[in-house]
């Protein structure tokens, strides 16, 4: 419904300074990109202008998760190289015009990114968007450093697995206090937790000790929505969509009904229910 690329980014009001948040995890495959896509939509649904940057150079994926792959003509490296203007490289979302994507380069490599230029780009984008959300590649090498360089907040995504927790621990150590990392526990399976076969949110956070931003259950619908390129946060109802919207509200500074306070094992499911609204 909206026209695609040529639509210019708002270039006025340089006084704005939006928030730059990196979504990271260390480990791959924990749902960084899905989280980025859904939080992008959830924040945009609140009326905020949101720019998503896919910093996973060489392994571009955010475009396909958002269903925008056919619209991408230019990418992050084109902009960093100065061969394409930012306005021409960003892709506007088809569902929400206040959400845009700057895709990663698919045929380039992570170490081709100039860290200083990346920082300057994020800084520049903050002047035009309320939120600049950077989807960080897995790993802790150059790609990670370039993804975090322009951010001043971090959201770490962790699944309830030993490997993911260990990697998040490492990443949080690398980030330091500056980024005030907050935690999203992703792909939680409450039934397994109940049986003692999966780490609970409390278990995970007893180790990580981070402010808990939210919990996303392992929901088959997320796979379906990703298949379609229509992030689940676009839905008007459902527990998972509600959970993403609750996270967005929390990011925006709203006092979200206590999904994140420390709760004992017994209180956990009550909290999960509360977090997912009444939509059980």
């Amino acid at each position: 419904m909206h026209e695609v690329q040529p639509e210019p980014v708002p270039t006025a009001q340089p006084a704005k300074r939006g928030r730059a948040i990196v979504i990271t995890s260390g480990k791959g495959g924990v749902g960084k990109t899905t989280t980025t896509a859904n939080l992008g939509h959830a924040l945009a649904a609140r009326g905020c202008s949101v720019a998503l940057i896919d910093a996973d150079v060489g392994l571009r994926n955010l475009d396909i998760v958002l269903g925008l792959e056919s619209r991408v003509k230019h990418n992050l490296l084109d902009v960093l190289d100065g061969t394409v203007e930012l306005d021409d490289a960003i892709v506007r979302d088809k569902h929400n015009a206040s959400l845009v994507l700057l895709a990663a380069a698919q045929t380039r490599e992570k170490d081709e990114v100039d860290t200083e230029k990346m920082k300057a780009l994020v800084e520049r984008m903050r002047e035009h968007y309320d939120y600049v959300i950077i989807d960080c590649p897995a790993g802790i090498e150059g790609g990670f450093k370039n993804a975090v360089v322009g951010a001043d907040e971090a959201i770490v995504v962790c699944t309830p697995e030993v490997s993911a927790v260990r990697d998040v621990d490492r990443v949080v150590g690398l980030l330091g206090n500056k980024f005030r990392p907050q935690l999203i526990v992703n792909r939680l399976r409450p039934a397994l937790v109940k049986k003692g076969k999966m780490l609970s949110v409390e278990d995970v956070n007893a180790i990580l000790r981070l402010p808990l931003l939210g919990v996303i259950a392992d929901e088959p619908e997320i796979i379906v929505t990703t298949n379609r390129g229509e992030p689940i946060a676009l839905r008007k109802d459902g527990a998972t969509a509600a959970a993403y919207h609750a996270i967005a509200a929390k990011i925006a500074g709203e006092d979200v009904a206590a999904p994140t306070v420390e709760i004992k094992e017994t209180g956990f499911f009550g909290r999960l229910g509360a977090m997912f609204g009444g939509a059980k």
């Binding site: 927790v165 260990r166 150590g173 049986k195 076969k197 609970s200 278990d203």
Partner: protein, 139 residues
């Protein structure tokens, strides 16, 4: 004992196992990621030992090792002499002969000398041995 309960109540929840494993591995990770802190701790540790006995600072080895359910600090501290008479007479066993043996062992440069053990013996996998339990296996 733990094994007994395990047999009694069936296998532990795997999430419990995961938690324990994570706790341990992260301690190890954090240690290896804080070399400055470790060095400082080693120095302080050695200083404390040196208050009571004369140690061979160059040959001290301090390592961390993950044992069955715990992280252990393993220290090999060659003792050159028990120099001050009963320096800190706090009831610890500090037998003279052992100290002498230690000095002898460190005297030969070829052997990396394991004259005296503190904490647990590193190479013994059985390793539930409490500290100072093996006075003279070092020969």
């Amino acid at each position: 004992m733990i094994e007994f309960f395990r047999k009694l109540f069936g296998p532990t929840n795997s999430s419990q196992t995961a938690k324990e494993r994570l706790r341990l591995v992260l301690m190890t990770d954090h240690l290896s990621l804080a070399p400055d802190m470790i060095e400082q701790m080693k120095r302080d540790f050695i200083d404390v030992i040196a208050k009571y006995v004369e140690v061979d600072r160059d040959k001290i080895e301090i390592n961390f090792e993950q044992q069955d359910k715990a992280l252990a600090m393993l220290a090999n501290v060659p003792i050159l002499a028990v120099n001050r008479n009963g320096g800190g007479g706090d009831g610890k066993k500090r037998e003279e002969p052992e100290a002498v043996e230690a000095a002898a062992a460190t005297g030969s440069p070829a052997t990396p000398a394991l004259p005296r053990r503190r904490r647990r013996k590193k190479s013994a996998p059985a390793a539930v041995a409490p500290s100072n339990a093996s006075p003279a296996p070092a020969g």
